[in-house]
Assembly symmetry: C2
Homo-oligomer: 375 residues x 2
């Protein structure tokens, strides 16, 4: 039996246009160790937008195609094509994670038939997805597709931050853009595990969200005394590691500087190399595309600024650690790791210009869920 | 028996002046495990200037004191005092390393009496220095004080770079400000050990120095096609680690970008997270005091930019590795690790305004040696 369905594709063309469309894809009989899953829910994560929209200029959006087969086209500045050479002309499927029901299973995977599963691995903005059986996780009894659609990216990232901090010997964490879905998860996780967390946000509305779930250290970077309060919060918690979703500008540098200032407060002897307190900044997002500025003379020589990505982290952590992380996510699916969606849309709706502009805005507190069954 | 002699001191005062002077210090009988060394030679390393002159404005230099007891005074901008709070009012001795003859030894260190030794640990710009016996290294037969004066900072740093690269799994190295004394040492070391080294300099004169000692990859960052040639050199050598003495500006970022471009050349599939090639930039100096700018979108998420300092590296490396490094330095003291001095000056001469301006300039190829015996 074969299943034919739609798959959302993003294509960057050499002529400087980016094209979104729904392609028909047929899934044949799965291999012995594989399954076909009917996708019931897939979240739109910030990390999906990079592949979906890439370097497109949103205000150049135009509609082509039909209501049944919508197509959106955008212009891309020529200057940004060079770094995208490797994807030119390729029709790329989108969607990091999702949940659905197994509708076909290979001979070795029959136990999964009819089960509702969570999954990750790309191409989830689709009606069907074929995967290896070991790539899906059966959801706990009673869990909805929405409950299980986002058990990978944000929960594993939040756990990955805590695990990274532990492995590298830090006892408290600083997090930016902290009112995000991921940020709220991290706050709940750190509270449960007794790890002090300093949350940095950019508005009072965001600060209120975090205080509402029990956050004690919440700083608004727009406040005039932000830097002084950051030093105090870092000194009080002992935070020496930070995870930064913003990337551009000097906020990361300000955090390292606050950590150094807190360490120097505790020093008795002068050292022109600064404190011997090692400080780590991980950049895991790019909410600000500007270059990163490091005022490194303000934080000595004991520091590191690094990229942080989930997949390489999981590879380094190894199967045992990853297994324990997965079990914890399943166990706390509707508590610590619950995602809250503000809007559920169909697959074709994802290519509605107004809807796209809404989820592209990444507004505080808004989170979209694609439910292909809705149309 | 007591030895009384001069010690060069740097004092940063709250009134915003920096004062250099020679103080008389008396060294009494050494403890059982200690020795008194008459200092015969001490190099002026770039790393000494940070403590000696700190944030002083060189063009505000004025002479106070007498020919026998020279004193130099400089102004320091108020804005730069805040980060120097910990040294305000302290009379700090200067000079990271040197060589001399043991003139007094404790009961457990009699074997060192009369020996010529190399040493590190500060306060070397002086007539005498008291140290633990284990802090000095007897020089090979026939080695002069000048031969053994700089066996610590530059040789251990060059070896530290190679050891760091090896430990972290890199097979080739990029180095900036590569015509420095340290850079030439690193070139000789990498050549001897068969480790490809990409040297980046800022003038043709500097490039010629490196080619003269057998360097094959020498790039002038002032050349118009510098970036393209850097990608080629990185691709050819497979360099994925860089040591940067400059720190400020975007050169470090350019190096990471070149490493990424070389890695992407070899990729077949597009990934919006960039290549999975890990790239490491270590900043170990501050020839440019400006902030560091990272155009991180051009090099993906698999990278790290960190401070690199010799002492913490040696602590992490452990006694066995450090012992092997020391033995190698002594064995190759007059070959791989030979320092070339362009001018020897007395201790009082170091406080002569014209001489100070000359060594403060850090001109290419110039290297000063203090010989306290000269006066």
């Amino acid at each position: 039996m074969a299943f034919t369905g739609r798959e959302l594709r993003s294509t960057l063309n050499e002529d400087g246009t980016l094209r979104l469309s729904l392609e028909q894809v047929t899934h044949g009989d799965p291999a012995p160790d594989a399954v076909v899953v009917q996708v019931e829910a897939a979240p739109i994560n910030p990390s999906d937008l990079g592949l979906l929209l890439g370097p497109a200029q949103i205000d150049t959006l135009r509609e082509e195609g039909t209501a049944d087969a919508p197509v959106l086209v955008f212009d891309v500045p020529q200057g940004r094509l060079a770094s995208m050479k490797a994807r030119l002309g390729q029709s790329l499927p989108v969607g990091n994670e999702g949940a659905g029901t197994v509708v076909a299973a290979g001979s070795e995977a029959q136990g999964l038939l009819g089960k509702r599963v969570g999954m990750a691995g790309g191409a989830m903005f689709a009606d069907y997805r074929t995967l290896k059986a070991r790539e899906v996780v059966p959801l706990p009894e009673g869990a909805s597709a929405a409950d299980g659609a986002a058990l990978f990216v944000n929960p594993m990232t939040a756990l990955g931050f805590v695990e990274t901090a532990r492995r590298e010997g830090h006892k408290a964490i600083v997090h930016t853009a902290a009112a995000s879905n991921l940020g709220q998860m991290l706050q709940k996780l750190c509270r449960a595990d007794g790890i002090p967390l300093v949350n940095i946000v950019r508005s009072e509305e965001q600060a209120a969200i975090l205080r509402g779930i029990g956050a004690t250290h919440v700083l608004n970077s727009k406040d005039e005394d932000f830097r002084a309060r950051l030093v105090d919060a870092v000194a009080e918690t002992g935070a020496t590691i930070a995870f930064d979703a913003i990337g551009g500008g000097a906020l990361g540098s300000d955090i390292l500087q606050a950590m150094e200032a807190a360490a120097v407060r505790a020093m008795t002897d002068y050292s022109r190399y600064g404190s011997d307190q090692f400080k780590q900044l991980y950049i895991y997002g790019a909410l600000d595309l500007a270059p990163t500025t490091l005022n490194r003379l303000a934080f000595g020589f004991q520091w590191s600024v690094s990229g942080w990505l989930l997949m390489p982290f999981l590879q380094r952590a190894g199967g045992e650690v990853v297994g324990a992380m997965r079990r914890r996510v399943l166990g706390e699916l509707t508590t610590t790791f619950a995602s809250r969606y503000t809007r559920a849309i169909g697959l074709a709706e994802a290519l509605n210009p107004e809807v796209l502009r809404a989820y592209e805005r990444k507004a505080t507190g808004e989170k979209f869920l694609i439910e292909p069954g809705k149309g």
